[in-house]
Amino acid sequence: MTTSDEDDDLGLEGLLPFYVNGTLDADDRARVDAALAEDADLAAQLAVYRSMSSDVTARETANTPGEFGLARLMRDIDAEEKTTPPQIQMQSPLWRYAAAVALALLVLQTAVVMLAPDQGFELAGGGTGAGDGPALTVAFRSDAAEAQIRDALLGLDLEIVSGPSAIGLYTLRALDDQAAAEAVSQLDQMDDLIESVELEE
């Protein structure tokens, strides 16, 4: 026991109850022993605490709920489990650290997006292939199949960058002016696929 009598007004008498119950550490016990040998009044106080202790320990414990109490608890726990979804054990320090790291990353990401110069929106496919090449405006035939469109675009190195618009137009981008001119020429001949094609200025 690490209690000290220096921080209260009772001095060694404050230690007497714990001398009686045997929880004093060796140093405090030795101090009390030394004082008791010389101080009859302290010894008299000790006798009162011993009397209290012997009375308390001699008392029988009243009849406890025992197994009936346990059965009642189990019944209530079962009922609670049926009405309450199981709780995820989030008390582990590992969960707390993971949550803190995730939160920090979210804040960092938000800050980067907010503070970065406004570059506008860019499609997921943006920045690859066609880049900032010339644009073509195309109207596909209504009965054109997706597979036909895909084959045509792949064959001509074209990317869809927007569309369809309200009137069904798509904007395609080519690698460069030469590729754009070649694409217009090729698409113009695909009557079963293309209704119109035009190179944007």
Partner: protein
């Protein structure tokens, strides 16, 4: 039950192990019930408080971090539950007020004779509940001063003061009875 074993049970209870819960209940039911009845004399009310204590143990086992002894944690829950009952039922009592003036002669009665005559038991029963609970924790549960302080949530110095006041009031009561005054 040793604290390391009790902590192992708490770890299992936190994972929903009802066998471990039953084991903890059987180990601490009697001392907790005794502690509760040292303040609440109604056995039915004490049963309910004990039930509430163990329901909280089941629900809050995952929050137990093992910084204190399991025993201290359990008795702390019991203490708060009892105090809640007191507040809800508007039962109030002053806890740490100094006892009325006690005659210094009170300390010189024959304690052995007083004990034999049942005066000690009678007079302990007349003490305030806050005093009786601390006496129970120190002399029956054999807690250290720090453990009592943690359980009741008061400074260690207040634990000692409470015991000192209880002893003075006890001696005053015993002296009165020994002199035939029957306080």
């Amino acid at each position: 039950m040793k604290d390391d074993m009790a902590k192992q049970l708490m770890t299992r209870i936190a994972k929903g192990d009802k066998t471990a819960f039953a084991e903890l209940y059987r180990a601490y039911e009697a001392p907790l019930y005794r502690f509760i009845t040292s303040k609440l004399r109604d056995p039915f009310e004490a049963n309910d408080v004990l039930h509430d204590v163990f329901m909280e143990v089941w629900r809050a086992a995952a929050k137990f971090e093992g910084r204190s002894a399991v025993k201290t944690w359990l008795f702390g829950i019991a203490y708060r539950k009892v105090m809640d009952r007191f507040r809800k039922s508007a039962r109030t009592e002053l806890t740490d007020e100094p006892p009325e003036e006690v005659d210094e002669q009170d300390g010189f009665c024959d304690l052995a004779q007083a004990q034999e005559a049942g005066h000690v038991r009678f007079c302990i029963e007349t003490l305030k509940a806050a005093h009786r609970m601390v006496i129970e924790l120190v002399f029956y549960q054999e807690m250290t001063c720090r453990e009592v302080a943690e359980t009741v949530d008061i400074p260690e110095g207040t634990v000692k003061t409470r015991l000192f006041h209880a002893k003075k009031l006890l001696m005053h009561c015993i002296s009165g009875r020994m002199q035939g005054q029957f306080v």
